[in-house]
């Protein structure tokens, strides 16, 4: 297939996909939320000054919102809004990169398991079951505690603990794709297993797990927030979860510093909700069986 035709095909597919997606109200709301936060993460830090290192006068510590600090200040006199904008970068970055890792692991394990079958399948699926059954938060906490709490480790830990359900889905899709004639043809002309898995099966599986990917991102962001809150985040790269950790440890709850507590939490809820809305909408568009069932 020539490149030109591929581009045309993708364009056509995308426009028909967008037509259906557009009719899904919650999906559009979710997309709107995500675009807003993406803009905040990308250009926000350039618009708001964040006096991170400078020590302010005592009078600016723990101030409620006013015209100068729209969301008030924290116990070091830093602007909460600026922290929120900066935090969006870290939270989204961790959520998206750890999802990519989780998808890669899930794809490799799911495709190999479904494609090879037999003993390999049995072993890999046993392993998947183990990962499904181990309580995920203790596992993440223990892993981060051992590896050390920094940004890279947090991303790795979330990635390697959340691939199991994806692997399951990919495996079952691989099993059905494996039986299609073009796989038979590829095998007949002597393509290697590796080639078949990554050039034929993966592209066919991907659209099916796209919705799942978005939903996993929602969970990854929640995981990062929780890890950070429990003190297992990177203290130098302050995400929303880390903001909440500092606020909690500084006793913001008891002082009643709601402006320090509510914004980061609301941001997490909105983003997670945004990803969930978009994920569910994609699932309905790409997997119409559900739509028909609900009629």
């Amino acid at each position: 297939m020539s490149d030109n035709r591929t581009v045309l095909l993708i364009k056509k597919k995308f426009s028909s996909f967008w037509k259906t997606f557009r009719q899904n109200k919650t999906g559009l709301i979710g997309l709107g939320i995500l675009v807003l936060f993406a803009l905040m993460a990308i250009i926000g830090p350039y618009l708001i000054s964040y006096n991170a290192a400078s020590v302010e006068e005592i009078s600016t510590i723990l101030n409620p919102p006013d015209s100068e600090h729209w969301l008030g200040t924290d116990d070091l006199g830093k602007d909460v809004l600026a922290g929120l904008v900066r935090g969006s970068r870290i939270s989204l970055l961790v959520g998206i990169t750890s999802t990519i890792i989780s998808m890669l692991i899930g794809a490799v394990i799911g495709i190999s398991s479904g494609y090879y079958g037999g003993t390999i399948d049995a072993i890999l699926m046993r392993l998947t079951d183990v990962f499904l059954v181990i309580p995920w938060l203790p596992l993440m906490l223990v892993l981060t505690a051992i590896l050390g709490a920094n940004l890279l480790n947090v991303i790795l830990v979330i990635g390697i603990t959340s691939w199991a359900s994806t692997a399951r889905i990919i495996r079952s899709q691989t099993l059905s794709i494996k039986e299609r004639p073009f796989i038979e043809r590829a095998r007949a002309i002597g393509s290697s297993n590796f080639h078949i898995m990554f050039s034929h099966i993966l592209p066919n599986v991907f659209p099916l797990i796209f919705a799942n990917t978005i939903l996993v991102t929602a969970i990854a962001i929640l995981s990062e927030t929780t890890l950070s809150f429990l003190g297992m985040g990177d203290p130098t790269r302050v995400s929303w979860g880390m903001m909440l950790h500092f606020a909690f440890e500084a006793g913001a709850t008891i002082i009643g510093a709601w402006w320090w507590i509510i914004p980061p939490g609301l941001a997490v809820v909105s983003v997670v909700l945004g990803f969930t809305f978009v994920g569910n909408a994609l699932d309905e568009v790409l997997n119409p069986r559900l739509r028909r069932r609900e009629r």
Binding site: R126, L127, D129, V130, L132, V133, I134, P135, W136, L137, P138, L139, L141, V142, L143, A145, I146, L147, G148, A218, L222, T225, T226, F229, L230, G231, M232, G241, L244, F248, T253, I254, G256, W258, I261, I262, G265, V268, V269, V272, L273, T276, F277, R293, E294
Partner: protein, 324 residues
């Protein structure tokens, strides 16, 4: 396949899972960067002799496979090692904290499952209407909310702003109670906010599962058959739709235990509730590795055990299982 064979298979699977977790758990704490003893002792000025003595005492001078065998042997005797921070056997510390967690998680889970089922059924029944859309929206928001943050909001509103409930702990330290009733009422007041938080956080998930399950069941052919008998809609829900929709919930409750434990860790941390979750948080902050390892093993075993129980229950509830 008959029932006994099915259960045996499930039991073997559970044992294999626990064994894999054991291996994993053992090596995890031995691959951590740096000398474990140095991490444990945290005293940079310790003498070389003293270090060697401690190494021998912990058996760290032996080859890894011998250590692993010793580890398994110790486990069989209920010896999970000793906490560095508390200087007590890990198992004792864990067991001391189990009741507090059971009270919180047990009450919260039972209430949230019960209410979740009711909300799910009502929402499914009214699907497509405003009630459905609003109900589903609230459920999704609750589902997307971090448990600890919700807990903090609860504390700020009820305990700090309204001052109607205590901010945390299970009871007031060093207070003499005038009567048993007084003590009971105080405990209840301390229990209220954590349980409320825990319940509200998990209602959403259970309600959504129940809603989808009921909708799926309502589209099954046997529902039309039942309607063709002339039974009322309430009877239809009571005798066919709800019982059949509950089946997937049984396995979901077991799978959700991972989430329940995550919730317990967060809620107990926020409310300083003296249970396993709070213990995990303090163990993390103190980098108390033997305690962390013990806790991780304990929690995982509980979840695997609960999953096995769910399998038994499921095979009892659904006669088709024995066939497949």
């Amino acid at each position: 396949m008959n029932n006994r064979k099915y259960l045996l298979k499930k039991f073997m699977q559970a044992m294999i899972t626990i064994f894999i977790v054991l291996i994993f758990n053992y090596f995890l704490f031995r691959v951590m960067p740096g000398d474990p003893i140095r991490v444990l002792i945290r005293n940079p000025r310790i003498s070389v002799d003293a270090l060697a003595e401690i190494r021998a005492q912990f058996g760290l001078d032996l080859p890894w496979y011998t250590q692993f065998i010793y580890y398994l042997k110790d486990l069989l005797h209920g010896n999970l090692g000793s906490s560095f921070y508390y200087r007590e056997p890990v198992l004792n510390i864990i067991m001391e904290r189990v009741p507090a967690t059971l009270i919180l998680v047990g009450t919260g889970t039972i209430i949230s499952i019960f209410l979740g089922i009711i909300i799910g059924v009502v929402v499914a029944w009214k699907r497509g209407t405003k009630i459905d859309i609003i109900g589903l929206g609230i459920c999704l928001i609750l589902y997307s909310t971090p448990a600890f943050w919700f807990g903090i909001l609860m504390v700020m509103f009820f305990a700090v702003y309204l001052r109607v409930f205590p901010t945390g702990l299970m009871s007031l330290p060093g207070v003499a109670y005038s009567s048993l009733l007084d003590q009971f009422m105080t405990s209840l007041r301390h229990l209220f906010l954590p349980v409320l938080t825990f319940t509200l956080i998990y209602i959403g998930g259970y309600a959504i599962i129940m809603r989808n399950s009921v909708i799926e069941v309502l589209n099954e052919d046997y529902i039309i058959t039942a309607r063709a008998k002339g039974i009322s809609y309430i009877q239809l829900l009571k005798r066919h739709a709800v019982p059949n929709a509950l089946l997937p919930l049984v396995s979901m409750v077991a799978i959700n235990l991972g989430f329940v434990i995550a919730g317990a860790i967060q809620v107990e941390t926020v409310f300083s509730w003296p249970g396993l979750g709070r213990l995990m948080y303090t163990a993390l902050l103190n980098r108390d590795y033997p305690l962390l390892q013990g806790l991780f093993l304990f929690l995982t075993t509980c979840v695997v055990g609960a999953n096995f129980c769910a399998d038994i229950l499921y095979s009892y509830l659904d006669p088709r299982v024995k066939l497949s």
